[in-house]
Subunit: 268 residues, 2 copies
């Protein structure tokens, strides 16, 4: 891991212990997969960061400056780039005051591959309904931490999180898609959950997909289920709780199309 820190457009050496990102989770993040020589989805991630910054009222640094620093940091190696953007040190207490944001870039090794037969835990930790933050990849992620711990404790590599009404929303670090009666379906995220970039790319590949409430029985009876995120791409699911998922040619076909369009996911 190596990292660089910006305050506004100025490179700084030290992160303040009073940064609002730490004090309140007052910020956003992006996690990008870098190919050997490129950040293929940079424009999509930066646009989401811009949209999130607009919703929360955060100040963004200059895109070209940060993109250049990211490329230098990655140094041509296939890695994961993480961008954290916070409201910086401005303001007193919860009250936000306009001021330069903090932007932290860090590079990380690509994660080890998922298990060959991915089985999902049903997490007890719910996703709280909060439309004011729905869709955002913000820094308030304690729910995900608690849910992820549940998965590991139960011997699963990932798990599904539901809202307080039992609607399935997401995995702990991925979005979820299912194939039911010949149709792709993915949860509506207008009340909670992160609207992932891989999810957005898949929505463009699947014009007939339904984005709606998803129930646990629907998932358990689905013909195919997969998870996706911007680091791992598509991850086929072989078991949901104690229920095996048969798999379907539609998933194999989708995975191939996805790799054709986005070949830098090929080694997953």
């Amino acid at each position: 891991m190596s990292a660089v820190i910006f305050r506004g457009n100025d490179r700084v050496e030290i992160l303040s212990s009073q940064d609002r990102g730490l004090m309140y989770g007052d910020g956003l993040f992006e996690t990008l997969r870098a190919s050997a020589a490129d950040l293929p989805w940079w424009p999509l991630h930066w646009r989401r960061l811009q949209e999130g910054a607009l919703r929360l009222g955060l100040q963004l640094p200059d895109e070209a400056l940060i993109h250049d620093a990211a490329k230098k940091l990655l140094d041509g190696r296939p890695q994961v780039l993480k961008i954290v953007l916070t409201r910086g040190e401005s303001g007193r207490g919860y009250q936000p005051v306009a001021g330069p944001g903090t932007c932290i870039l860090s590079s990380h090794a690509l994660p080890s591959a998922m298990p060959g037969r991915l089985s999902l835990h049903w997490c007890t930790t719910a996703v709280a309904r909060q439309p004011a933050l729905a869709g955002l990849k913000h820094l308030n992620r304690l729910e995900n931490v608690l849910a992820r711990r549940e998965c590991t404790d139960a011997g699963h590599a990932e798990g599904l999180m539901s809202d307080c009404d039992g609607h399935v929303i997401c995995a702990t670090a991925a979005n979820v898609f299912l194939y039911v009666n010949g149709c792709w379906l993915t949860p509506d995220l207008s009340q909670c959950g992160i609207a992932g970039i891989a999810r957005a790319m898949l929505l463009t590949l699947l014009p007939d997909i339904r984005v709606s409430a998803v129930t646990r029985p629907q998932l358990e009876n689905a013909e195919a289920v997969f998870l996706c995120n911007a680091v791992r791409g598509i991850m086929a699911v072989h078991q949901v709780g104690s229920v095996p998922v048969a798999g379907h040619a539609a998933l194999d076909a989708l995975k191939q199309r996805f790799l054709d369009v986005h070949p830098f996911f090929a080694n997953e």
Copy 2:
């Protein structure tokens, strides 16, 4: 402001940009009022930190070590002490791994007094229902930041936040109490909200208080309303939204009893 940082029981100079407190809001905090020579509520705050750390699985540093460092930092001045405890740098992704926590102590000037006639905004930003985190003073506070901004934009010094069913839960940085039909009442926090230390102290002073769901009409028709927190103590409320609150001798009496027991709040 001055600050010191510990990693486990070791004093360190720099906060890692990869600290999980920043990455995920994976931690807790306490805000204490210090008198000229003492931290009168230290045992209560430390106990809450212990209980929160147990719920989240965080490692606490040695209490005597941190108390000593806090006293040195405050240097005998009436100030606010903030303690932030995070899960540190351990683990990869959301998955928490046992390891030394980060503990940041910082001293801050006492806040300026609240307006003489405190009026409360009805915040649009709701408190999301999340029983897994209810009661904890954790670092996922984006809701409070958004709600606080609403108050300022509307010209109010504080505001009331409700859950998604419209039950009143708290102010943006305080708990709320109301006097209805000769009885004190404060919201139930089993589903969301921070169980404040000042609230806990007041519950011991008010053995007949009801802790239950509180509706907006109840607040608007209350005979007396006050906010409380561990920095400001009791703050009488004079207006809720556009509705004036008459005030009641019961509040004056309670405020006097509170000051008799906790005289270090006397200058509020």
